[in-house]
Subunit: 306 residues, 2 copies
Amino acid sequence: MKEIKIFAPATIANLSCGFDILGLALDHVGDEMVVRMSDEKGVRITKIIGQDLPLEPHLNVAGIAAMALLSNLEVDHGFEIEILKNIKPGSGIGSSAASAAGAVWAINKLLGSPFTPTELVNFAMEGEKLASGIAHADNVAPALLGGITLVRSYEPLDVIKLNVPKDLVVTVIHPQIEVKTATAREILRSHVTLKDAIAQWGNVAGLVSGLFMEDYDLIGRSLEDKIVEPVRSMLIPAYEAVVEASKNAGALGCGISGSGPSIFALSKSALDAENIKKAMENVYSNIGIPYDIHISPINQSGIKKI
Amino acid sequence: MKEIKIFAPATIANLSCGFDILGLALDHVGDEMVVRMSDEKGVRITKIIGQDLPLEPHLNVAGIAAMALLSNLEVDHGFEIEILKNIKPGSGIGSSAASAAGAVWAINKLLGSPFTPTELVNFAMEGEKLASGIAHADNVAPALLGGITLVRSYEPLDVIKLNVPKDLVVTVIHPQIEVKTATAREILRSHVTLKDAIAQWGNVAGLVSGLFMEDYDLIGRSLEDKIVEPVRSMLIPAYEAVVEASKNAGALGCGISGSGPSIFALSKSALDAENIKKAMENVYSNIGIPYDIHISPINQSGIKKI
């Protein structure tokens, strides 16, 4: 019986100004999964450790994504999936994306890689649709491809890997409150002013330029979101205080990770990241909110065999 | 008496999806100016050849920009400006920007370069304010700095030079009708849908990535404007026909140059640019609209002494 054990990284979508288009993969934070070929056709989720999530494949993002892949291929086998779930659902660091992307990556590998990375993004997006109601790609793309990814368009799907400045480090704090992606999306306005939109695409262009030029100051100046952050940050306790403390501790810039409630900061050294971690912890300790916190460089290769 | 003769390039602002933030400088198209130090204080425009434009400095973009510079410096001299105006006002290829940028660049040079390029952009923007009512920088920045520029923000002014893929060539056609920048701005909507805004910043991010990666196909795919082009193109005769013919002739993509009526196409070779030129000419010849047309590589250095 063929099986594969993989690591599926946590991801940070949006990256402040890059709402719905940018995302990055973390290196030290993520789920583990074992995917096993079986004689019985179909997809079975046999075990989930760490979180209370449905085992029924049609109610589980990994199951949905796996079935989306298999519906595009004639195959005589089935697949069993075990998930060691380290990423908490609703944390905003791509919990559903890791499961969905991990499942399709592993099955594709076991089948001899019949699908391209972009095709895998498409299948994994079906899992995201179950989780949030929208088949978005800004978490599954960096999970599958690694690094920092741009989803330029959805029709057709056009995913581009951007340059990752080598010293970039992420600090991300997860206050232990749950914000559903669907809720975080509902509160957004359907229209924005042209003026704010122009400021936003100026910052997006600045951020992308900063990544390619490895200009850390430019990256920092560009991490400004005039459209989504002012609305969504209201759902996150002490958001402004965490951002201010992080910047004072050396963060290039900060933002809401995905739809929140996690908050990320980018910095240009591990030392800065440690100082930012302390500053973030300090804010939540003072107001008595429990949290998880992670420091990680950027994962250049995405999901990998372990 | 010290004097300097300069070439001030025509520029293409917006570059489709990059409304109000992106611009590039042309290499073979532009104005010539002579700027001369004089004992009499103040700014005088002594001669304008080629176009009927006001000589009064406070009614002329070059005069306004020059005075903005001089108001920031104690100087015992005055300056005389002569302009050989090759770029037609209202063409959409940065006629006012060339005059404004040329004036401040030349005076700065004659004074021993007391100001930085970004400061010069600020002074030249004062000229743009006279021309269009808004102190925009997306033409004066590429005129002054050369290449392809990003105006990330205005407050504070943050201008970034992007990478220019070496084979990129511009074809730009100017149908001989006038579209005032102010009019072209008035017809824009003050609000846009979040959906369109996301598509736009996806394309902006794609275009900037394509420039840095020198990925010509990605540049082409990203030259899509869902917000401004659908409105402004109504002011330009046979806009869709010119775009379609250009793409069929090998254009990577097209857009409105500045606020129009000029239409630009980017291509990855001089041969493609020639074919695009013929295709564009063909459209306007058939419907009997007179035009100017130019082919140019991208000017890497901006305004220069000649």
